[in-house]
Symmetry: C2
Subunit: 352 residues, 2 copies
DNA sequence: TATTTTTCTGTTAACGTTCACATACTTTTT
DNA sequence: AAAAAGTATGTGAACGTTAACAGAAAAATA
């Protein structure tokens, strides 16, 4: 609000001009309490004339409620995030809440900054869809302690007073790997984690589980391309990571016949590396991604991948949060794990 | 903020516990005014102990400033929007402002709702990056009238008291078309507008201008695929639109040898239609998109397109807005038009 | 007609913060 | 040693709104 040029109209400005008190104007604009038709009409005329808009700060301060909820996204450029934001907004709008979105890329510091920006503005609740990290989690626990309503999406985080919605990436990773095994592959690589760093990466654990279930060896040289999970730079895996990791896999003496990547961007990078080397997909190498981003049907060949039920995640998270906000008494923690779906396209086939 | 379970700590709670007044605590947490080291230490200890956080509503109400700026995006799933949000955030963060993003898809009604949500929360300024529409524009003019600082990005909108940043889509469209003309094409179609609806679509006007400059006829049957610009459903052009429009073009008696589409999504749809018909790109038909979305390098063949200087648009818009916010006196309107860049890839070539 | 209920409007205080001012004590300057 | 400047804290009011209460007039009921 620019205050330099023009002071904005307040309730009492309207009241003065209309010859009533602020309280009457308040009653008119909020449509509650008794107001005579005559007075209401007069007030509304002045409201229009003076171009009055209520001051949400004052209102929120008094009501101890802002009808606003916050969403923290880790990576706005990710189609997954866009879809999530949309689905959440659909619910919140419908239920009479505004949705403010904050971006927290790159670092835990920004996570904390986003939490603080939203709580400072006294949003009624927050949906957190960033990657888990030590500092951010600690701060999140503190905020919940302080009484802020929180729901996490796809995040490794447990607090008795916060709900959680996740996709079953463990099973998703299992399905993707099993699909390759079913096609006859025995040398299946993973791009986007290491045995060490992938401890909390569910889709990677699903990969390991599938190998073990079929008595296939877990070969460390086939597991490559670490996406750092340090507090300083969580960041999503990128195409570049996939490209470089694939380059490394291609020069191995006994190279893999199939690759499962941590996400579709990584898969796209890997595809480019494979094409560049003159090999064909899926004839020489099969590849499976994760996320089913819109681009996945336009890669060549179209990418086999695992789809997360993004919209349902968003809907549920929003419902959980609103329930938490609108319930006075302490409530039980809700946790929902949704199934992923394997989408088979042209990037996978039987090994040569 | 959940108030049911726990009332949040206020300045005077801290003050009481520390044995001082609110004013002293305020001085400590804001680091201004005189406070003895001893008192400061004691206060900080209590602040930590009681887990105090300032109430931004009360603060904003008193200061008449929230150090927050709002961004309204028309389509969050658009890579252009993501890039824009990032660049704007880079500036605002650096200058000490929070950035709250609102989405306004589908309708002018949502535009208005987003404006109102942000102004009600007394953001210091708003950057608008939605598509222009009658109702939304009217509301925007009113808000500017009321004193809200506003900057528009890539939007057809003029107000003496609002700045504007746009990409020179007219010249971008001209370049794209000229590129096709230079390759020897004479039958060049446009997908995503009609002569009537494209009046305000700069890239389309650039197309027309290029044709005229080379004395090529503007053939109405080559101009197809209207993306409705009604108040009810502005919405971005989609792949489907491109697909269907291309289908129509392909059955024309004398089909075009080149197509310029209003954006890359549309181009992707058109590419799919062409492939489906068995024709080859660029041998049989050349195609040029607009926006250079990340996917553009992964279409097959890679898409020739026009890149907008998105980051610079974001930076400039943010700078303009902060200048407007931080300047007390009335200031002159700023308008900046940035150049687009033609990115030539494999989807364009000489006609057969 | 007397009584109760409903309708209409106003008064006061509070939400949590900060600014302007006041007071008192300490240090420096003349 | 007196005056001036600097340091440290407190008081009161205000930012714009609304809930709770109160009082009076009008309408409905007994």
């Amino acid at each position: 609000m620019k205050t330099g040029l023009k002071k904005s109209t307040t309730l009492s400005d309207v009241a003065k001009t209309a010859g009533v008190t602020s309280m009457t104007v308040s009653r008119v604009v909020n449509q509650n309490g008794y107001v005579s038709d005559e007075t209401r009409e007069k007030v509304l005329r002045v409201v229009k004339e003076l171009n009055y808009r209520r001051n949400g700060l004052a209102r929120g301060l008094k009501l101890q409620r802002t009808d606003t909820i916050g969403l923290i996204l880790g990576d706005i450029a990710n189609p997954f995030a866009a879809e999530l934001a949309r689905s959440i907004r659909d619910i919140t709008t419908q239920r009479g809440y505004n949705l403010f979105i904050c971006i927290s890329e790159h670092s835990a510091k920004e996570d904390v900054a986003a939490f603080d920006a939203l709580t400072d503005h006294q949003v009624d609740g927050i949906i957190v869809a960033t990657r888990s990290n030590r500092i951010g989690d600690k701060h999140l626990h503190e905020m919940i302690e302080r009484g802020v309503s929180v729901v996490c999406i796809g995040r490794d985080f447990y607090n008795e007073n916060a709900d959680s919605v996740t996709a079953d990436a463990l099973h998703g990773g299992f399905q993707a790997t099993q699909h390759l095994i079913d096609l006859g592959h025995k040398k299946i690589a993973f791009i986007g984690a290491t045995l060490e760093s992938g401890k909390n990466l569910k889709r990677f654990q699903g990969y390991l589980k599938a190998l073990k279930a079929s008595n296939l060896p877990v070969e460390e040289r086939f597991i490559t391309g670490n996406s750092e999970t340090s507090d300083e730079a969580p960041g999503y895996s990128t195409e570049k990571l996939g490209y470089e990791a694939m380059k490394r896999l291609l020069v191995l003496p006994q190279r893999p016949t199939a690759v499962f990547t941590r996400n579709d961007f990584t898969a796209i990078g890997a595809i480019n590396a494979i094409k560049e080397s003159g090999l064909r997909i899926p004839n020489d190498i099969s590849i499976v991604g994760f996320d089913d981003i819109p681009t996945a049907i336009h890669t060549s060949p179209a990418l086999t991948t695992v789809r997360q039920p993004t919209r349902r995640e968003g809907f549920l998270a929003a419902e959980f949060l609103l329930r938490r906000i609108e319930t006075k008494d302490p409530i039980e923690r809700e946790e929902k794990i949704l199934e992923c779906e394997l989408i088979v396209r042209q990037s996978t086939g039987a090994p040569a």
